[in-house]
C-alpha cells in the first residue's frame, strides 16, 4: 500500500514542522550575545546558555548582567532621555510606527525564535504573540502622537527599569516598552533568563529603525540582574512576574519615592453558569489554562461550574482535552508545547502532588519525557487544597461546583489574587452582574484570555497594581503636573496626657473617635493634649475596629454616584450652615476649602466615568473605575480641616469607605465633623476617624489585609514604614505631596484616579454569524 493510501486509511495529520533554519543561522552568527546598551551590542561578559526547552539543546549564549552593566545601561538611558522627551509626539510616533512595521516584516522570524526559546506552540507565537506585539507598537505610536493633547501638563517619568517574565517574552517587552517610549521615557529592560533571545532580536530592530542610542537598553541576566535594576537610579520600576518577587521589589522601593507598577500572579475564576453555552465554555478552558502550557498569569485556572450542568460540562471537557495534541512546539499542529524549563516542570508536578496528597483527584496531567506535561485538571478539590490556592502555572485547572450565583461569586473571590475572571452565561443580566461582583482587573464574559493594546490589563489585590494598555496604561508612565510643595510641620509626641480640658465655660465636651457612625472612646482609654483640649489616643485596636466598620459599609458603593453626590452636597450644606463655628476652631479659609471639597466631589460623584474602548470589532470593552473598598488615609499634620476633606471627599465620592488618621497635632476640628456627617445621611462606617500618632497608626492600616489602598501624606521616613507594611497584601500606596490644601491644587481628577482601580470587561456580541446580518456598529 502506498504511503498516501495508508494515510487515507488512518487520516492522521502527520508532521508539519516550521522551518527554523534562518533563525538558527542568525543565532549562530550572533551568539554569544552581549547586552544592548546605548544603541550598541556590548562585548559579551560572563555568559549562560539559553536553551530550547523542547529538546534541551543550547540555542545561544547570553550575558549575565552585572551591577556595572546595569549602571552603564541606566547611564545610557539617562543620557538619551532628555533628547527623546524633547522630540515632538509625532517624531516619537514615527519611531514606534517603524518598530511596529519592522516587527511585522519579521513576524515569521520572531515567531520561530520565540517558539524555539520558550517552547510555546508555533501557532500561538505566530497567531497571537507576535501580531499582538505589532498591534501594541501601532497603538502606542498613536499615544505618542496624541500625548500632549490627551495628557496636558503631564511629563515623562524619566528612566524606567522594566523586568519581564518568560511566558510571553516579546509580548511582555512590547507591553513595557511601547507605553514607556510613547510617553517620552527611556528604558532599561531585562528579559527573563530563560527567554532573552527575542528581546535581543528586538534590539536589532531598534538599530534598524534608527532609534536614538540609549532610548532602549536591554540587559540580560537572572534575578540578580533584576535586583540590580531595582537598586539602580531609575525613576520607575515596572515588573511582571511572581507575587513573591513583586513583594520583595515593593519592599526594596519603599520610601524611595520611585514609581512602581506590578503585574503579578493569579488564580483566576472561570465561572460556568447553568445557562452557558457549554461547548463555548469548554473552548474557553482551552483558551485559558491549556493555552501557552497554562503558563499564563491571568489563566482561568479555577473552573467553577453550576451543579446543574457539572456532569455534562465535565464530559465535554474530557472529550475536548483528549483531542489536544501535546508535541514539538515547532509543529504547526501542536496545541500544547514544552514547559519553559525543567525547574518549572518540577514545580508544577510538586503542586499537583501536594494537591492529590491533600485529597484531590488529578485527571490527565501526566508528565511526558522532557519538558512536557499533558493537559489536566484537579477535581474533588477543597477550597484550602494547595492546588486550589497556589498558582500552578502549568496546564492544570481545578474543577469544582457551586449551587447559586452568590455562591459562585463567593468562591470566585475566595483568593488573595484578583487578576482576571471569566464568566459564561447566555444571560446578559446574569453575566454583567457577576462581572461587577468579581474582584479582578479583567473580566471576560463568554470569552477568555482576550488581549488588546487598547484594553488595560492589570490586577486587584495581590495580583498587583497599575495597568498596561490604552489611556489608563499611559498614565502609569507619566507624571502629574507638579504641585507647589509645602513643608509639613513636624509632629509632636502624641502621648497620654493627664486629664484636663482646655475649654473654658459651658458644658464639658469630650472628643471621641468616630467609628461605624458612632462616637467611641479609644480602646486604651487615653487622650493626648492638642490645641483646644484633649484628643483620644487611638491604637491598633481602634484601627482594627474602624476597618471592620468600614468593611461593613459596602452598600455605599452600591448606592450609585447620584445618591452619593446628594450626601456630599448635604455635607457641604450642613458645613456651610456652621461655617462660622468651624472657622473658630480652624480658619475661615480652611472651612471654605472644606465646603468647596464636598461640593466639588459631589459634582464628580456621578461623572468620573469609565470608557468604552475599541479593542476589537463586535466586542464591547468597557473600562469601569471601581472603588478599592477600604482605603486608609493618613492626613498631613497641617491644615486639619481642608487636608482631611481634600483626601476624604474624593475617596468616598468614588464609593470607598475610609479610615482616616487626621492631623496628628490638631485633630479636633476634624472630630467635630462627625456631627456634620451624622446629619447629612452619610451611612455609618463610610468615614471612620482615629486620632493619634500618624505614622504608627498608618503602619497598622498599611499592614491590615482588609485595607485595599493607602494614602499617606508625610515625609520619606514615614512613607518608608508605611510602604514596607503595605507589602503584606501588596496594596498600592499613594503619597501626594504636602501642599496648600486650601488651594486649587488640592482637588481634581488625580484624586479620583487614585481612589479607583480600573476593571476591564470584555463582552463579545453577535446575534447572527458574521456575514448573515448587517454590521451593528
Amino acid at each position: 500500500m502506498s504511503n498516501v493510501s495508508k494515510i487515507m486509511e488512518s487520516m492522521d495529520y502527520g508532521p508539519s514542522v516550521e522551518d527554523s533554519a534562518a533563525v538558527r543561522d542568525w543565532l549562530k552568527a550572533k551568539s554569544p550575545f552581549g547586552h544592548f546598551i546605548g544603541g550598541k551590542f556590548q562585548k559579551p561578559g560572563k555568559t549562560f546558555a539559553s536553551s530550547n526547552p523542547s529538546t534541551g539543546e543550547a540555542l545561544a549564549e547570553v550575558s549575565q548582567g552585572t551591577p556595572a552593566d546595569v549602571e552603564a545601561a541606566v547611564k545610557a538611558a539617562r543620557k538619551a532621555q532628555k533628547g527623546w522627551a524633547a522630540l515632538s509626539g509625532s517624531e516619537r510616533a514615527r519611531y514606534l510606527y517603524a518598530i511596529a512595521r519592522h516587527v511585522q516584516k519579521r513576524e515569521r522570524f520572531l515567531s520561530v525564535l520565540e517558539t524555539l526559546d520558550n517552547g510555546k506552540p508555533i501557532r500561538e507565537s505566530r497567531d497571537i504573540d507576535i501580531p499582538l506585539v505589532a498591534r501594541h507598537f501601532y497603538h502606542h505610536a498613536g499615544w505618542a502622537e496624541l500625548r500632549d493633547a490627551e495628557f496636558p501638563g503631564h511629563a515623562p517619568l524619566g528612566v524606567c527599569g522594566q523586568i519581564i517574565p518568560w511566558n510571553f517574552p516579546l509580548l511582555m517587552l512590547a507591553w513595557k516598552i511601547a507605553p514607556a517610549l510613547a510617553a517620552g521615557n527611556t528604558v532599561v529592560l531585562k528579559p527573563a533568563e530563560y527567554t532573552s533571545l527575542t528581546a535581543l532580536a528586538f534590539a536589532e530592530i531598534c538599530q534598524e529603525v534608527g532609534l536614538p542610542a540609549g532610548v532602549v537598553n536591554i540587559v540580560t541576566g537572572d534575578g540578580a540582574t533584576g535586583a540590580a535594576i531595582v537598586e539602580a537610579e531609575v525613576d520607575k520600576i515596572a515588573f511582571t512576574g511572581s507575587t513573591e518577587v513583586g513583594r520583595a521589589i515593593a519592599a526594596k522601593l519603599s520610601g524611595t519615592g520611585r514609581k512602581l507598577t506590578l503585574e503579578l500572579g493569579g488564580k483566576s475564576p472561570f465561572i460556568v453558569m447553568e445557562d452557558a453555552d457549554l461547548d463555548a465554555a469548554v473552548e474557553g478552558v482551552v483558551d485559558s489554562i491549556w493555552f501557552n502550557q497554562g503558563q499564563v498569569c491571568c489563566a482561568g485556572s479555577r473552573i467553577l461550574v453550576a451543579e446543574a450542568v457539572a456532569g455534562r460540562f465535565e464530559a465535554l471537557l474530557n472529550a475536548r482535552m483528549a483531542k489536544l495534541i501535546v508535541g514539538p512546539p515547532l509543529d504547526k499542529s501542536t496545541d500544547i508545547g514544552a514547559i519553559v524549563d525543567p525547574v518549572q516542570k518540577d514545580r508544577i508536578q510538586a503542586i499537583c502532588r501536594a494537591a492529590t496528597d491533600a485529597g484531590a483527584e488529578l485527571v490527565g496531567g501526566q508528565p511526558g519525557e522532557g519538558c512536557y506535561i499533558a493537559p489536566g485538571y484537579l477535581k474533588n478539590i477543597a477550597p484550602a487544597n494547595p492546588g486550589m490556592v497556589e498558582e500552578i502555572f502549568g496546564p492544570i485547572a481545578t474543577l469544582s461546583t457551586f449551587r447559586t450565583a452568590d455562591e459562585a461569586v463567593e468562591l470566585a473571590n475566595n483568593t488573595r489574587y484578583g487578576l482576571a475572571g471569566s464568566v459564561w452565561s447566555e444571560s446578559a443580566t446574569v453575566a454583567t452582574d457577576l462581572a461587577a461582583r468579581i474582584k479582578a482587573g479583567v473580566i471576560w464574559i463568554n470569552c477568555a484570555n482576550m488581549f488588546d493594546a487598547a484594553a488595560p490589563f492589570g490586577g486587584y489585590r495581590e495580583s498587583g497594581f497599575g495597568r498596561e494598555g490604552g489611556f489608563t496604561g499611559m498614565l502609569d508612565y507619566l507624571a502629574e503636573p507638579p504641585v507647589k510643595p509645602r513643608k509639613e510641620p513636624e509632629a509632636g509626641a502624641a502621648q497620654t496626657a493627664p486629664g484636663g480640658d482646655g475649654q473654658g465655660g459651658g458644658i464639658d465636651r469630650t472628643a471621641k473617635l468616630y467609628i461605624g457612625g458612632a462616637q467611641k472612646r479609644p480602646d486604651g482609654g487615653a487622650n493626648y493634649a492638642v490645641p483646644g483640649g484633649m484628643a483620644p489616643l487611638g491604637s491598633r485596636k481602634d484601627i482594627r475596629n474602624a476597618v471592620e466598620a468600614a468593611a461593613k459599609a459596602g452598600k455605599w458603593a452600591g448606592m450609585g454616584g447620584h445618591a452619593r453626590a446628594q450626601v456630599l452636597y448635604y455635607i457641604a450644606e450642613n458645613l456651610s450652615a456652621r461655617a462660622d463655628e468651624f472657622a473658630k476652631r480652624s480658619s475661615k479659609a480652611e472651612v471654605q476649602a472644606a465646603i468647596a471639597r464636598a461640593f466639588h466631589y459631589a459634582a464628580w460623584a456621578d461623572k468620573f466615568d469609565g470608557r468604552n474602548v475599541q479593542a476589537k470589532p463586535a466586542h464591547l470593552v468597557n473600562l469601569l473605575p471601581e472603588p478599592y473598598g477600604v482605603i486608609g488615609i493618613a492626613c498631613p499634620n497641617d491644615q486639619p480641616l481642608s487636608g482631611f476633606m481634600s483626601l476624604v471627599m474624593p475617596a468616598i465620592a468614588m464609593g470607598n469607605a475610609v479610615v482616616v488618621v487626621p492631623a496628628q497635632d490638631d485633630p479636633l476640628p476634624v472630630l467635630d465633623l462627625y456631627q456634620i456627617f451624622d446629619t447629612s445621611d452619610l451611612p455609618g462606617g463610610v468615614v471612620n476617624i482615629v486620632t493619634g500618632p500618624k505614622d504608627e497608626l498608618a503602619k497598622v492600616l498599611a499592614a491590615h489585609d482588609e485595607v485595599a489602598g493607602l494614602w499617606y501624606v508625610g515625609d520619606r521616613s514615614g512613607l518608608a514604614g508605611v510602604e514596607q507594611a503595605a507589602g503584606g497584601n501588596l496594596k498600592p500606596v499613594w503619597s501626594p505631596a504636602h501642599r496648600d490644601w486650601t488651594g486649587g491644587q488640592a482637588q481634581g481628577r488625580e484624586f479620583l484616579r487614585q481612589a479607583t482601580q480600573t476593571k476591564t470587561i470584555w463582552l463579545p456580541y453577535g446575534a447572527l454569524p458574521a456575514g448573515t446580518g448587517s454590521a451593528a456598529y
Binding site: M11, A276, A280, S333, C447, H619, P764, T772
Partner: protein, 316 residues
C-alpha cells in the same frame, strides 16, 4: 463504502434541544482557529485532499442541465483525478462520493454511472424553496426513488423553524423519510435562511429525530451557504444526538466549499469535533462542483512539482 446502518430516528423529543444555548461569537472563534490549529503537508495533504474527493457529491443543479451534461458529470465522478496522478501516488479506484442531480436527471445519471458503484443522489421536495404542497413533494421523492436514486436530498420548510413549530417540522421530515424507502435521506436545513445558530441547532435535532441519515447545510441557492460556524454547530448536534439516541448521523456541507483549503478545513472540523469516522463518505459528504477542479490542481502540483492549468484537466 456505503453504510449498512441507517438512522432510525426517534420520537419527537423537544427536551433534547429546547434548552440549547449557543454563543455565536464563541462559535465563530472556534471556527476561525480550527483550521489554524492543524496543518497538513506533503503526502498527508495529498491524502486528505483525495479523501475529500471521496466525499464529494459532485453536483449539477441548474436549469439548463441536459442528459449529456449529466453524463459528463458522471464520467468525472468515476474518474475525478487524472489516472497518471493517482498512479503516481499509488491510489486506486478513487471516485467521488456520489453525483447529485435533479429528479428528471436521475435515470440519465444511473445509465452513465453503470456499475461503477457511484451512488446517485437526487434533490427532491420542491428544491430549493420547498414551498410546494406536501403531497406533491412526497410524490417527487417517490418519483426520484423510482428512477433509481440511491439518496434523496430533501429541503425542509423554513417557516416551521422560524415559527418554532417543531411538531410540524418533525411530521414533514418523517413523512419524507418514509417516502424515501430504502434510499438514504439528507435533510437540507437551508441554514442561510434560518440565520441564528440556535435555529440551526434545533432544526438539526428535529431532522435527526425524524430519521435523516445526513443533515445538510444548504441548497447552494441561499444567500449564505455552508460556513464553518454553521457546520460546527451542526456537528455538535450530531454528537449530542448520538449520545442521546445511540444513532449515528452524517453531515453534508454544501455550497461555499470551493478551494482545496476549504476541503482541508472542513475535514479538520469533522475529525476534531466528531472523529475519524466522519471522514468516510457514509458520514461525510461535500456538496460541490468547482471544488474538485481546485483539488485536482493541488494534487497535480503535489505529484509533478509544477503548477497546473485548468485547461489541462478534464472538466466535469
Amino acid at each position: 463504502m456505503t453504510a449498512t446502518t441507517r438512522n432510525p430516528g426517534t420520537a419527537l423529543r423537544p427536551d433534547w434541544f429546547e434548552a440549547i444555548r449557543i454563543n455565536t461569537p464563541a462559535v465563530e472563534r472556534r471556527a476561525a482557529t480550527l483550521p489554524a490549529r492543524r496543518s497538513l503537508k506533503k503526502d498527508w495533504q495529498a491524502a486528505w485532499l483525495l479523501n475529500a474527493v471521496r466525499c464529494i457529491d459532485l453536483t449539477t443543479l441548474a436549469g439548463d442541465d441536459t442528459e449529456d451534461r449529466v453524463a459528463r458529470l458522471c464520467s468525472k465522478a468515476m474518474q475525478p483525478i487524472a489516472p497518471e496522478l493517482l498512479e503516481a501516488m499509488g491510489v486506486e479506484g478513487l471516485t467521488t462520493g456520489a453525483v447529485c442531480v435533479y429528479p428528471t436527471m436521475v435515470a440519465a445519471a444511473k445509465r452513465a454511472l453503470g456499475n461503477s458503484g457511484v451512488p446517485v443522489a437526487s434533490v427532491a421536495t420542491g428544491f430549493p424553496a420547498g414551498l410546494m404542497p406536501l403531497d406533491l413533494r412526497l410524490a417527487e421523492i417517490r418519483y426520484a426513488v423510482d428512477q433509481g436514486a440511491d439518496e434523496i436530498d430533501i429541503v425542509i420548510t423554513r417557516a416551521h423553524v422560524l415559527q418554532g413549530d417543531w411538531a410540524a417540522l418533525y411530521d414533514e421530515v418523517s413523512a419524507m423519510r418514509e417516502a424515501c424507502g430504502a434510499s438514504k435521506m439528507k435533510a437540507i436545513l437551508a441554514t442561510g435562511d434560518l440565520k441564528s445558530l440556535e435555529n440551526v441547532a434545533k432544526a438539526s435535532h428535529v431532522a435527526m429525530q425524524a430519521g435523516s441519515d445526513w443533515i445538510k447545510t444548504s441548497t447552494g441557492k441561499e444567500g449564505v451557504n455552508a460556513t464553518l460556524p454553521v457546520s460546527l454547530v451542526m456537528c455538535r448536534t450530531i454528537r449530542d444526538y448520538q449520545a442521546l439516541s445511540g444513532n449515528t448521523v452524517g453531515f453534508k456541507p454544501a455550497g461555499g466549499l470551493r478551494t482545496a483549503k476549504d476541503a482541508i478545513a472542513w475535514q479538520v472540523l469533522m475529525k476534531e469535533e466528531l472523529g475519524r469516522d466522519w471522514l468516510r463518505p457514509d458520514l461525510f459528504r461535500i456538496g460541490a462542483s468547482s471544488l474538485l477542479g481546485d483539488i485536482e490542481r493541488q494534487i497535480s502540483h503535489h505529484v509533478t512539482g509544477r503548477y497546473a492549468a485548468a485547461h489541462r484537466q478534464a472538466i466535469a
